[in-house]
Amino acid sequence: MIHQYKNNGYNIVLDVNSGMIHVVDDVAYDIIALFDKLRDTKTHMVSEKDKETIVAEIFNKYNKPEYAELFEIEPGNYDEMKSAIQESILDVEQLVKDGALFTEDIYENYINEFKNRETVVKALCLHIAHDCNLACRYCFAEEGEYHGHRELMSYEVGKRALDFLIANSGNRRNLEVDFFGGEPLMNFEVVKELVKYGREQEKLHNKKFRFTLTTNGILLDNEVEEFLNKEMSNVVLSIDGRKEVNDLMRPSRNGKGSYDIIIPKFIKLAEDRNQTNYYVRGTFTRNNLDFSEDVKHFAELGFKQISVEPVVSLPEESYSIREEDIPKICQEYDKLAKYMLKKKKEGKDFNFFHFMIDLSGGPCVAKRLSGCGSGTEYLAVTPWGDFYPCHQFVGETEYLMGNVYEGIKRTDLREDFKQCNVYSKEKCKKCFARFYCSGGCAANSYKFQGQIDDTYDIGCELQRKRVECAIMLKAAEAVGEE
C-alpha cells in the first residue's frame, strides 16, 4: 500500500508498510501511480507489456515542448524522452526489490504475539486534584470534577499508586507519572511528597521515574517553578493562544479571563527550562478555526515547544468541530506548515507537537501498531485511588478497573483494551496513517461510537492531514539540505 500526495510543491510517496518516504518529481509520481495500478499483487512487479503501457501513457502526457526541460532534452527529441521514462521505471523496480515500495503488511501475527505477552504497567496519570481554579468551557473533566465531587488525592493514596506501579512494572525501567487534574497545583504539597517518595523508591528498585505535570498556571510561582524545573521531565502549560481566544474558553470561576495572569509566568518558565522539555498546549474549537494564528502568537512570544490541538467534544456543543470544518482546518495546517518553514529559514524555528515526526529514530513497529496502552500499561488513578483505563474514562463507572488497595479487578476490561489495536479496527486497515496514530484514541472512539475499538472519524481526518504536513516538512528539510 502506498499513499501519494502533493503538498506545498512536493510530490510525496509514502510506502505505508515500510514507512519509507520518497520525494519524487512529476514524472516519477505518475509512473509510480501507474505501476501501482498495473503491478502483480504477489510479486509487486509489472510485466514487460505493462512497462510498455506505462511508457506510452507517460509519453502521451509529457510529449509536449513545455515538458522538454523536465527530461533535459531538446524539444522534439522524443526518443530520448522514452528512454528516460524507461530508466525511471527501472528505478521504481529497484525500490520494490529494496523493500521500499509496495511492501506488504506483515505485522498482524507479530502484533498478536506481542500483545499476548504479560501485561506490565509503566505509566500512571495521577488525578492529584479533582478541583480546578478555572472554569474552561470545553473541559472533559467538568471543571475538575469528572462527573463526581471535588476531592484532592491524599499522600497515602498517591504512595500506594506509586507502589502499585513499581510492583507491576516487570523489568521496565522507565516509569512515567503525570500529575494531572483538575489543577494539580491545588494539591502541590502532595505532589512534592510523592516526588520525594518516588525518588527514594527508584533507587531501591532500579527504576527511573519520569514525572510530568499539566498545569493551567494560576498557582505557578517562583517556588513551584523551581521545583518543577528540578523534578519534572516535562511540563504541559495549558493556554489556548491569543488573549481573546484563551479568555473566551478559559475563564476563571468569576468569569474573568486567565491570559494576563498566566502568560508572563509561562514565558518565564519556558526560558528557565532553556526552551526544552515543556509544551504550551492549547485547544482549538469551532470558535477559532484560524488556530494557526494562535500557534503564531505563541511563536512570536518566543515559545519553542508548541501544541495546539482540536477539541474533542460531542456535536451538541456549539464549539465542537464539525465535519464541515475539516477543509478549513486542513487549510490551517497547510498554512502553519508553510509558516514553520519560513521561520526555520529565518533561524526562528519552533516545534509544533502534531507535526513532529522522527523518521530515522522513531518508534518500532510494535509500538506503532499496538495502541496507546490505555487500560493496560497506562492507567489513571482518581483522588480516592480508583483505576480507570485512562484519564478520559474517569467517572465512566462501567470502566472502573480496580483500585490502589486491591489492584486490577476487572481483568476482562484489561483484555478488551489489550486487543485494541489497528488490526481490530476495519477502518485502520485501509488507512495510510495507521503507523503514526497506533489506531487512535480508545476514549474518543467510546465517546463517539459507544465502543472502544472503533474510530473517531473527524479526528482521523485531521490526523491524516497532520501526518501529510509532518512528512512534507521533512521532505522540505531534506531537499533544502542538498
Binding site: H22, A100, A478
Partner: protein
Amino acid sequence: MKRIKTLNTRNLKDTMKKGGCGECQTSCQSACKTSCTVGNQSCENK
C-alpha cells in the same frame, strides 16, 4: 536515482528484530491527552 529522493527513514520491517522493549514514552503522556500520536516519539532502544 534521478527523479526519486528517498528520505533517511528507518524501515519499519527492520524494527521487528529488536523492537517492543516498551521503554519509550506512553503516547498520551507527552502533551496530547486527547489523541494518540506515536510517530513523533523516539525509540529508547537504538
